[in-house]
Subunit: 138 residues, 4 copies
């Protein structure tokens, strides 16, 4: 399963180089994984309310071609690994109208509770665990 | 009392017009009031930990001359009114090296508790109330 | 004419109060006016490429009720005045699902060229001027 | 040579998890390399004015311990490689008061001209090239 989220580039996301500031791609990754959970039938908001948090422990991005103001872009998000304590999403940022690859990256997340202590997802929320297990890409 | 905080303009704060994006001046206002509290002997962080929050209920900014990347700017912050339920800060943004006025604005804040319910500052934290009362500019 | 743009609140737009940080409403206003121009048949990106810029000279926001992560919000944008040298947009931020008003504000923009010098819109771009003149709300 | 820049964590940099949002560490990396150039006797702003740009082509961050609002943090920046077409900075984010490591990462930058075309730094700006060559860490 690959989620595709669509984003219109905001003016404030550009910098004086005339292209999108590099840190903002990570904000788009966040939108990607948010929509990934929604498509899966879970809401990340609801998971947090139930006490499960997925803070980022590692993030990476390779920039291939600049995104510009008002571009319509696509964030393609895939779950590529699921371990007892972490999971990893891979992302691909594409210019929708031109079909051009703009960037690719990943984020690794830990499973923690409200206080930031590691928790085993399998035990804490078996429903989410099973559903993720089914669709993780090998 | 007027607090003066110094800020170096960040690259990511600019937009493709080559100047600072208008919303970012509000982030600088936040730094101004944070340093205002610190100079006063209080830490806003500590106030929140004790259960007092000051969400913004109104904000305003007039832009006179653009701030640019790497400029050294000064945020001048004054407390200009203190009511039972709200207070107001006025700000002046100045280019430190050129002595030029860049922007001016204000924020109005409510006093609320952890759940967002209005609380009377005078009763909840008389020490802060008295100290602010002393220095409010008329 | 009132444009309605829809936005899903991003995680990174919240702050530790658990609600959207006050400066981010101004980013939403920007999306509102961007979509306003698009609905009108112009693209603000194209206007800039032709050499017309609309920097913000004044901005204001009143916060009524907090927006939260993952909320679906609506930005309602109206053009409320058009002068020789400036125009003004009014905005209303609404929680789409609950129909609740979250914030309202305005931005005033100048007409300038690439170098930041004021230009009369009527002369520089009569097509845009006439179209805006038609739909300005009194 | 390792540059050390000091930053006070801004309220708006936190998210509803009560800690700094992961994308904001990249903004701090930017401050680090900006101050690195300044310490070296160059201003990145001046380099851009002369027509040399260093867009990020790759970025990475590992998060060890969360940064929180009002923390005083230190960004330690080192130049770890210098090639014909790229350079790489390594960063370490430390909580200054507690001496605790918060995050580490790197950015790789290309040398391009105003139009985004790759340029050889050695030829374009031999002074900067020589100075960087001297201090690159092996």
């Amino acid at each position: 399963m690959m989620n595709e989220a669509e984003i219109r580039v905001r003016y404030g996301e550009t910098d004086q180089m005339g292209v999108v500031y590099y840190a903002n791609y990570y904000t788009w990754f966040e939108i990607g994984r948010n929509e990934f959970f929604r498509e899966l039938g879970f809401s990340y908001r609801a998971l947090e309310i139930e006490g499960l948090f997925l803070p980022v422990v590692e993030s990476h991005c390779k920039y291939k071609s600049p995104a510009r103001y008002d571009d319509l872009i696509r964030v393609q998000t895939k779950l590529v690994s699921l371990e007892n304590a972490t999971l990893r999403f891979d992302y691909n940022i594409v210019n929708k109208e031109k079909g051009k690859d703009l960037a690719e990256g990943y984020t690794i997340h830990a499973f923690v509770d409200k206080r930031g202590r590691p928790v085993p997802l399998k035990k804490i929320n078996p429903t989410v665990w099973e559903r993720l297990k089914e669709i993780v890409e090998r």
